[in-house]
């Protein structure tokens, strides 16, 4: 059993008003060295697979077809052995 740890983020070209609002809150707290806040999603999948390669393929397909919308989002993932 493996675990896929997936991050879905808005593409650089897409404005992120939610991130901007959070950024305003952070700067109003007095943290003036914080900039460019971007919001995203973190998703974990447990995947039954014999090899990491097999799990990578499944994760790739799930991300491409469902978890991320390629028009506005990018995804990255890493695969760990389930403890």
């Amino acid at each position: 059993m493996f675990i896929s740890k997936i991050r879905v983020t808005l593409r650089k070209s897409i404005l992120d008003p939610q991130g901007k609002a959070v950024e305003h809150a952070i700067t109003s707290m007095g943290f003036n060295d914080v900039e460019d806040v971007r919001m995203g999603k973190y998703i974990e999948l447990k995947v039954n697979g014999k090899t990491e390669e097999e799990v990578r393929k499944t994760t790739e397909e799930v991300c491409g077809r469902l978890l991320a919308n390629p028009v506005m989002e990018d995804y990255h993932f890493e695969i760990d052995k389930c403890p």
Partner: protein, 248 residues
């Protein structure tokens, strides 16, 4: 075909404008209307499909992202590919984008606020099955109610939408001008509604089905729904006929 157009209103878990769409097409326009449950795979011989507004699957993951995998959607996609008329309103528009029947995405409103009000939108192309009862440049008053209606697409797709007259409605001012102030959600190029290349699938954020009853003193939405009725009738070789209420 009977003398009535048969509308199919898809019901996803979380749809909440399905009954409005049914009321508008069945009770007000006097057409036939049926609900199509998301788990069904039979379109019951409908002539036009409406994907209604709401919060299908609680808007989990992304609006419309999960609904597009409902069993009925496979049939809807096939129906659309065969030239059938499909309209996505609000959440239904989001589902059409996720299903790849229309290009682009709907992002969070630029204001980050849920907008619920009546807007003005300008008809940009009246030579479509959805707008034939309008004139180009007409201003329609239609309500919007959404948190994620900020239309976005890449520059190449926008150029192709514009070149092929596939932008049907743009948010406008009372005077019919396309201004930033008149844009309720930050939509690219003030886009309120678009159609596919073949001209049989339309998605829009405003809710025409909510302004059809004379009791509410605004029936602008009827012009869109009646255009669809006209189109389906003429497609079936019937004479264009106005519905009872329109003759009054």
């Amino acid at each position: 075909m009977s003398a009535k157009v048969k509308f199919g209103v898809v019901v996803f878990p979380g749809s909440n404008c399905d009954h409005d769409a049914y009321y508008a097409t069945h009770t007000i326009l006097g057409q036939e209307s049926v609900f199509l449950w998301h788990k069904d795979t039979d379109l019951q011989g409908v002539h036009a499909i409406i994907l209604p507004g709401g919060f299908s699957y609680g808007d989990y993951l992304r609006c419309g992202a999960i609904a597009r995998f409902s069993p009925i959607m496979k049939e809807v996609v096939e129906f659309a590919r065969a030239g059938g008329v499909v309209v996505g309103i609000c959440n239904g528009f989001q589902v059409l984008l996720e299903a790849g029947l229309l290009p682009g995405v709907l992002l969070r409103n630029a204001s980050l606020r849920f907008v619920c009000k009546t807007i003005n939108m300008r008809v940009e192309n009246n030579k479509t099955p959805f707008t034939s009862r309008c004139q180009k440049g007409d201003r329609l008053r239609i309500p919007v109610a959404h948190g994620e209606g900020n239309y976005f697409t890449d520059a190449a797709t926008l150029a192709s939408l514009e070149k092929n007259d596939r932008i049907l409605f743009r948010y406008c001012s009372e005077e019919g001008e396309i201004t930033e102030q008149a844009n309720p959600n930050g939509s690219l190029s003030n886009i309120a509604g678009i159609m596919n290349e073949e001209g049989n699938v339309m998605g829009l954020m405003p809710h025409p089905e909510r302004v059809v009853d004379p009791l509410l003193r605004n029936t602008d939405g009827r012009r869109i729904l009646n255009s669809i009725v006209d189109y389906c009738m003429s497609k079936a070789g019937h004479e264009l006929s106005l519905t009872e209420l329109d003759r009054r």
